[in-house]
């Protein structure tokens, strides 16, 4: 259902009172592909590796522009991670791409020792994350990757919410000194983040101001949260929506500032509630400002085959789930 709203124009765009809309849907992995292709032209040190999934990772454009800077590793992800680590020694900035499950659980020790502990400037490009991978099913639908990656010291963990943000994140990752885990998805989703919205690693974005509840969302759940907020507004509930694209390092201040106002929080992510964004937030709140929190996340199960929309509904990580969570937290805190 397309939500048509008027965009308010100010002398400078005020993202906090903007109404978000979209005219097209694109997959976030294409945003990665676009960012990588741009880097082929602008940064000669950027190289790319892929484990037999060029099409899925949208790497064709990069390969066309810089074939000598592309390394096809075949179905050998452990070797790929090591190769990427070795390439950084000569000053290269490698983007190593595969599905998110193959980029994490499959090769955790390789990332831990050869990349994280060795402080190598590798950018892990992890596509098809979460249940929205769809019909391939649970063997491929990783819901633990944010957890695994955030627990590695020195690893920056980013989960952008749309095509534009993913492209911006890719460019930012290339500039960043240190290993980065960049996680994005398979299906086409609304493009709603303005192309010129600044992207800074580690900085949350206040998308919408509100007074009754703080919603903090990442990845595909950001658009779902905006939809939910529209629904809730009809019932007189005012939602403040924060987009956290960088789960680690987490922008604690933007979250704390918001809960000072609202006193309650709903976190939303396409990930197991164990080890994801929600738990990171809960940790911060518990330490600094204990606040009641509801988790929109997969509740410690594996996924299954289905369409992205069906799966988001069944596993309760869609707008409806956010609406329910907001009403629940309001009930809890009456």
């Amino acid at each position: 259902m397309i939500v048509k709203k008027i965009i308010y124009h100010l002398s400078t765009i005020n993202y906090k009172i903007m109404k978000y809309t979209y005219t097209e849907k694109k997959d976030t992995r294409s945003g990665f592909g676009a960012g990588l292709a741009e880097l082929a032209d602008t940064n000669p040190n950027v190289v790319a590796l892929c484990a037999d999934l060029i099409g899925s990772l949208k790497m064709e454009k990069f390969i066309e522009k810089a074939p000598e800077r592309f390394f096809q590793t075949g179905i050998a992800e452990a070797n790929m991670m090591g190769l990427a680590a070795g390439l950084t020694i000569n000053g290269k900035i490698p983007f190593a791409g595969t599905f998110a499950n193959f980029a994490t659980s499959r090769v955790y020790d390789q990332i831990r020792q050869s990349i994280a502990y060795s402080n190598k400037n590798v950018k892990i490009a992890a596509s098809h994350a979460g249940v929205t991978l769809g019909e391939d099913g649970a063997t491929h639908q990783v819901l633990e990757d944010i957890g695994m990656m955030k627990m590695l010291p020195g690893m920056t963990v980013i989960n952008p919410c749309d095509y534009n943000q993913t492209k911006a994140a890719t460019l930012a990752a290339a500039e960043h000194e240190g290993p980065v885990y960049l996680r994005f998805g398979r299906p086409v989703v609304p493009v709603f983040i303005p192309e010129d919205m600044p992207f800074e690693i580690g900085k949350g974005i206040l998308l919408q101001e509100g007074t009754d509840v703080t919603i903090v969302a990442t990845g595909h759940l950001v658009w779902e949260s905006l939809l939910a907020a529209d629904e809730l507004e009809k019932e007189g509930i005012s939602c403040e929506i924060i987009n956290i694209h960088t789960i680690k390092p987490l922008d604690e201040e933007i979250i704390l500032k918001s809960v000072e106002k609202t006193g309650k929080l709903v976190s939303a992510e396409e990930h197991n509630f164990l080890g994801g964004l929600g738990e990171s937030i809960a940790g911060v709140l518990a330490r600094r400002r204990p606040t009641p929190q509801e988790f929109v996340a997969v509740h410690d199960t594996f996924g299954e085959s289905g369409t992205p929309a069906e799966l988001m509904k069944k596993y309760q990580i869609d707008a409806e789930a956010v609406v329910k969570a907001v009403k629940k937290i309001i009930e809890r805190t009456k």
Binding site: A76, G82, G86, I89, Q110, R112, Q113
Partner: protein, 262 residues
């Protein structure tokens, strides 16, 4: 070093001493002070990181860091961690190793990076034979030959032993020479891996074979615990520290001064 902290891996370290002396004394084209990039230099990666004692000793004696620092091995706050790492900034180390099977992949990435940069220096790795039971090595072997990474020389410490016994008892490696050749590598073999002149010669031979479209491997036959009679001929000294009396005996056999003077 191992005795002082009562932990570490003396067996493999002694077995590879000649390799390290040959490499850093004669073969490797390196510069000091150490830089991570090593542009225009040969690089070395230790994949079987547990033989850090001989790696650190070599680096210290060839000027990468002060010899006195060797006394801090495995101690709290030391740069000489139990297994090598870049984490504390110890000169001479370019990647952490210890969890086996990863070093060759990293070395291949560095080798391909050199080619991209038009740098025709070489990359050397040392791997254990037991270590080759780890599958990632074979991903790397396959890749190196397929992509014609011919500026790499991988040496296998072919001592036939591992923690739980002889490799032939634990998990036989089969005909390693034939396997590596089948994977597309040019394979050299040296039976006297604890003879310094022989090791220098085989490394020079390997060097002469690089740049011909095939990666080069050396099967280096060594004895764990070489030079110390109670360590040779057994897998027991893979990861055990000698006691005071054993240390004394070892020093005498290796023609060294007494431990107290060292």
């Amino acid at each position: 070093m191992v005795h002082a902290v009562n932990s570490g891996h003396p067996g493999g370290s002694l077995g590879c001493t000649e390799y390290f002396v040959a490499l850093y004394g004669e073969i490797l084209n390196y510069k000091l002070p150490f830089t991570m990039e090593g542009n225009g230099e040969d690089l070395f990666f230790l994949s079987n990181g547990h033989i850090s004692p001989v790696f650190y000793s070599t680096l210290a004696r060839f000027g990468f860091f002060p010899v006195a620092e060797l006394a801090t091995f495995r101690k709290l706050n030391s740069r000489l961690q139990g297994h090598p790492t870049t984490h504390e900034g110890l000169p001479g180390i370019r990647v952490a190793s210890g969890s086996l099977g990863q070093g060759l992949s990293v070395a291949l990435g560095a080798a391909q990076g050199k080619k991209l940069n038009g740098d025709n220096s070489l990359v050397y790795t040392l791997q254990g034979d037991g270590e080759l039971q780890e599958g990632q090595n074979w991903e790397a072997f396959m890749y190196a030959a397929a992509k014609k990474v011919d500026n790499i020389i991988s040496t296998i410490d072919y001592n036939g032993r591992q923690i739980d016994g002889d490799t032939d008892v634990v998990l036989p490696l089969g005909d390693l020479h034939a396997k590596l050749e089948a994977f597309g590598w040019l394979v050299l073999e040296e039976k006297n891996g604890n003879d310094l002149e022989a090791v220098i010669a085989i490394l020079n031979k390997a060097k002469s074979e690089t740049g011909n479209g095939k990666p080069v491997a050396i099967l280096l036959h060594t004895e764990m615990g070489s030079g110390v009679d109670y360590m040779v001929g057994s897998h027991a000294w893979h990861g055990k520290a000698p006691n005071d009396e054993q240390l004394d005996t070892a020093f005498k056999q290796l023609y060294l001064e007494s431990p107290a003077d060292y």
